[in-house]
Amino acid sequence: MEFSNELLEQAHYWMRLTRAFDDRLDLLFKQGKLVGGLFSQRGHEAISVGAALALGPDDVITPMHRDLGAYFARGMTPARLMSQYMGRATGPSGGRDANLHGCGDLSLGIVGFVSHIPQSTPVAVGMAHAFKLKREPRVALNFFGDGGSSEGLIHEALNWASLYQLPVVFIVENNQYAYSTPTKNQMRMPDIAARAAGYGMSGVVIDGNDFFAVHKTTKEAVERARGGDGPALLECKTMRMRGHAIHDNMSYVPKELLAEWEPRDPLLLFEKRLREMNLLDDVKQNELLTRIEREIDAAQAFAENAPMPDPSKLTEGIFAE
């Protein structure tokens, strides 16, 4: 597969934006400017961006809580996302749902998730089912974690998708931990992808920190799914480089494990490749980072100046009209 320069440039932008936005969120949280908790994205950039960029504009995603990059890549603006984190009226949930939760916009093909993991997975399957019934050449892309993989619903959804041969691709973001629980305390086998065989589905293990691998494999699976060849389960191995959420100092993670993954940061790896391909140099890099900081400044300013939700409308919209 070819990676066009344009694609790589886009990917670079979205991944760097994700990283910088995430860092900004961290700062804002510490400044008390965010509401509630905060999940770091660090380590998941290549997965969320690499997979999301494998889709066409009419495809849909059901992201999880470490897929900020996918929201960006699908066209959700930093201003709206920042509003969401600040609980403002201008966020996709208008201050009703928390951080990336309920951060959906069907016009962008994004389904907002609920906390209850992995409730988005059958929703992705249902969307794919609709595409098949309506003979639309569209694909649904679902994300879930190693933790979520132990919930029964995953089994129902994989079985359903494979039974009806639906155009859906499952991305497992195996970041070694579910909150404080290492995968060895969640399952006996090392690879979640190995379960795919039981459903007659192809299961692939990918280096989740390698944008190229994630993108290429997802793209292939997406196009096979689009062509009627049914679903696939892609397990992207990565490492959650921060605590489960911002309050968590992850004292339970061995220092060596983090040290081992540090040099494999998805952005470092990606940028190294770009430089090798002569697509990136210090000037470009600085330009990009500066531009992104400006954009995030603007998003922050937008959100900070955005109106709070209107409590007199508290009970409105519980039902659609």
Partner: protein
Amino acid sequence: MTWDSIIPRETKNEISRSARNDIAREDNARELTYLEAIRDALQYEMRRDPRGLVMGEDVGVFGGAFKLTQGLFEEFGEERVIDTPMSELCMVGAATGMAFMGLRPVVEMQFADFISTGFDSIVQFAATNHYRWGAPVPWVIRAPSGGGLRGGPFHSQNPEAWFVHAPGLKVVAPATPADARGLLLSALRDPNPVIYFEYKALYRSIRGNVPEGEEGIVPIGRAKTARAGNDLSIITYGAPLHEALKAADELARENVSVEILDLRSLKPLDTDAILETARKTSKVMIVHEANLTCGVGAEIAALISQHAFEFLDAPIVRLAAPDIPPPYAPILEDASRPNKEKILQAAKKLLAY
């Protein structure tokens, strides 16, 4: 497990394929049974709206555990009448996804009892979605409910209160063939997730005139005065309506005039109609098949005691199942369900208050 011993032998045979164009009717009148009225609404709407589809366990080739969907598979094919694996939770989630992508799925729970298996996706995802980020979830779950058929603890449940309590769902519970059709048509066109409770005990035991076409659509949220009266209000819904009507007939012979309000919709509740009948008769009895504590009857009593307090001449009485699983042995099941006799007894006590 499942059975449908309640299907009378005559109707168990397949409906002749030639009756296809009018599968709702098991005979030739437009007087339909409750079950036929539901089937008619499904068929009518699926013909009218190509987005409609039905899915569930055994709803296709077999025509459903109660033969309610019989004929739909033949008419609409396996893509719109889907025999699913046993996966209620995925089924509900998939319905939500289908609804997002412009379809109008109807999920049949084989028995209402199994709706607890799909609970999480109903109350957490579908119910809250529009409030949270504005995307409507237009699906319907059909839940064959209620006892009286010796089904025991897992084929007789009346779980509506869970869904009335959970924010974001509409809940209906028709008691007559006309309302069964009229409310199902409304549910199928509603942009919100609707839980449609239907009563197995009524499937083939009651018939009634059922309007055709666009006639007879019953709006969600509107109760119906099933019988007007002055001395006492009975507020009820679902199968017990018919017990209440029988009791009212008997009381009429003793010159007692009973008003019966059939709620039909449980969420939103028709608060106006509830308060109106309470204000009118000043004596209220609430009857339902579901367990007593925190049931829909509790909510109605609470509404009345808050908003029609001045009008009350007597305590508000509730008749419901005790807080036990529906028992199996006939002698136990009968003891656990509200029926005409119990209604009469409670009514007389209330009238004498």
